[in-house]
């Protein structure tokens, strides 16, 4: 896990160093130098990578909204770097990378409100079938269930489980204890579709860890 995180940590540190250099150049009145421009583009590309990663995950947001959010993200990034009153950017850029692209996507998606943000949730909440069950309650991953049964409690599985985030791990643990999705959602204080997503992502990550060659 450490090995997988190192490039990311290195990238964050490189971005923080670039921000410090840019701000020093601004203060010195030399921000028009080519290295400053290169530093700025380096940071922007790092943010773009995270932005695109999140946009893929939030695939219910339309392409148009994503493009608008991308521009809002760039504007925000530029202003935040240039604003000398945002000192934590120089030391807490990892947090910025994790959250600001998401926040920009959320802000922009609101302008497109329907169907961008709520479409998937509404569909997952639809009542389907004669039993009146909601769609998210019917979502099962047979492969994952089979994988759990086959793997049992071996060491490899434990390691894979440990590599998940605390929330993903907890959701899977609850599901394995046959706690239903609605109860899990209540415990987390999220909607049932979000609880379903957490479970599905956890299962998907587990499968990737246990079968690295599998798509």
């Amino acid at each position: 896990m450490d090995g997988a995180r190192s490039p990311y940590v290195q990238m964050v540190q490189d971005c923080e160093a670039a921000i410090i250099r840019i701000r020093a150049a601004i203060r010195a009145g030399t921000a028009d130098s080519p290295p400053t421009g290169d530093d700025l583009i380096f940071i922007q590309r790092a943010v773009q990578g995270r932005f695109i990663g999140f946009a893929r995950r939030l695939r219910w947001i339309s392409d148009q909204a994503v493009e608008e959010a991308r521009q809002a993200m760039d504007d925000r990034l530029f202003d935040d770097i240039w604003s000398l009153t945002f000192p934590s950017l120089e030391t807490g850029f990892g947090s910025y990378l994790q959250h600001m692209p998401l926040r920009m996507l959320q802000n922009t998606a609101r302008n497109y409100r329907s169907p961008d943000v709520s479409l998937l949730i509404e569909h997952l909440d639809d009542t389907v079938g004669e039993d009146g069950m909601q769609r998210y309650e019917l979502i099962e991953d047979d492969d994952a269930q089979a994988a759990f049964a086959a793997i049992g409690d071996n060491e490899e599985f434990a390691e894979a489980l440990a590599s998940l985030s605390t929330v993903e791990r907890q959701v899977i643990a609850w599901r394995l204890q046959t706690i239903d999705n609605t109860a899990i959602a209540r415990r987390l204080g999220v909607s049932p579709p979000t609880a379903t997503r957490l479970y599905q992502r956890g299962v998907q990550l587990l499968r990737q860890r246990l079968n690295p060659t599998e798509e």
Binding site: A4, R5, Y8, M11, R27, A28, G29, A31, D32, T36, G37, L40, I41, Q44, R45, Q48, G49, R50, I52, G53, F54, R56, R57, L58, E67, R70, Q71, D74, R76, L77, F78, W82, S83, L84, T85, F86, S88, G92, S95, Y96, Q98, H99, M100, L102, R103, Q106, S165, T166, V167, E168, Q170, R187, L188, G189, V190, S191, T194, R197, L198, R201
Partner: protein
């Protein structure tokens, strides 16, 4: 001062850190402990954070994404070039009003007498005599670099010079004991003597505390 997004980011980071440290905590329970000013926004944002999850690696871009990313990079480079291209000189007054600050508010923030700040804005104080601490405070309060702030400080002096030479119509702010002039009324403004910062401070309505602070500079 952090804006709403910055506050949300900080709260969300703390939420994730709390979960990693203490185990899962429900969003409503956590939100109840957060700054009331961001609670309404925080709950849906935290749910989005959980729904999106953390990214371990940056994705390999598709051709289309690569194209859009390149376009975004071009826009960013253009924006940088525009920003660093010789900016149009703005007077201190213009910089201040652009930030919707009154002379009084700005003076309070930097602990300077209002009339002295107004005189500085009019170019009635020699820029070279201004204490470095004052320039730094003004730059911070107005979100300017020191270089930008000094350029802004120089502008009123240039205007004042043109005024004396009859090359510019200038409508200064009402100064203590001075005249409010209009650009079209034909009135020739009284030339205000440019004095050192310390002389201007002595002639100002500074409080004892303000005098104590700035006389040391």
């Amino acid at each position: 001062m952090p804006d709403q997004d910055q506050k949300l980011i900080e709260a969300a980071s703390q939420y994730l850190a709390t979960i990693e440290r203490d185990g899962v905590i429900s969003i409503p329970d956590y939100v109840a402990t957060a700054d009331p000013a961001i609670r309404e926004e925080l709950a849906p944002y935290l749910e989005l954070v959980l729904a999106a999850g953390a990214l371990e690696t940056s994705p390999v871009l598709t051709a289309q994404e690569q194209l859009l990313a390149e376009q975004a990079t071009t826009r960013m480079r253009e924006r940088w070039q525009q920003r660093v291209a010789a900016p149009a000189a703005q007077s201190l007054t213009a910089v201040r009003t652009a930030r919707k600050l009154s002379v009084k508010t700005l003076a309070q923030r930097i602990n300077l007498p209002v009339d002295l700040l107004a005189r500085i804005e009019r170019g009635g104080v020699a820029v070279g005599s201004l204490p470095a601490k004052l320039v730094a405070r003004l730059a911070t309060a107005l979100e300017q670099t020191d270089a930008q702030l000094r350029a802004a400080l120089e502008l009123p002096a240039a205007l004042s010079l043109q005024l004396r030479e009859g090359r510019h119509s200038y409508t200064p702010q009402l100064s203590p004991g001075g005249l409010r002039l209009h650009a079209q009324d034909g009135t020739v403004p009284q030339a205000e003597a440019v004095v050192s910062f310390h002389d201007a401070l002595a002639a100002s309505m500074a409080t004892a505390e303000q005098r104590a602070e700035w006389q040391q500079e």
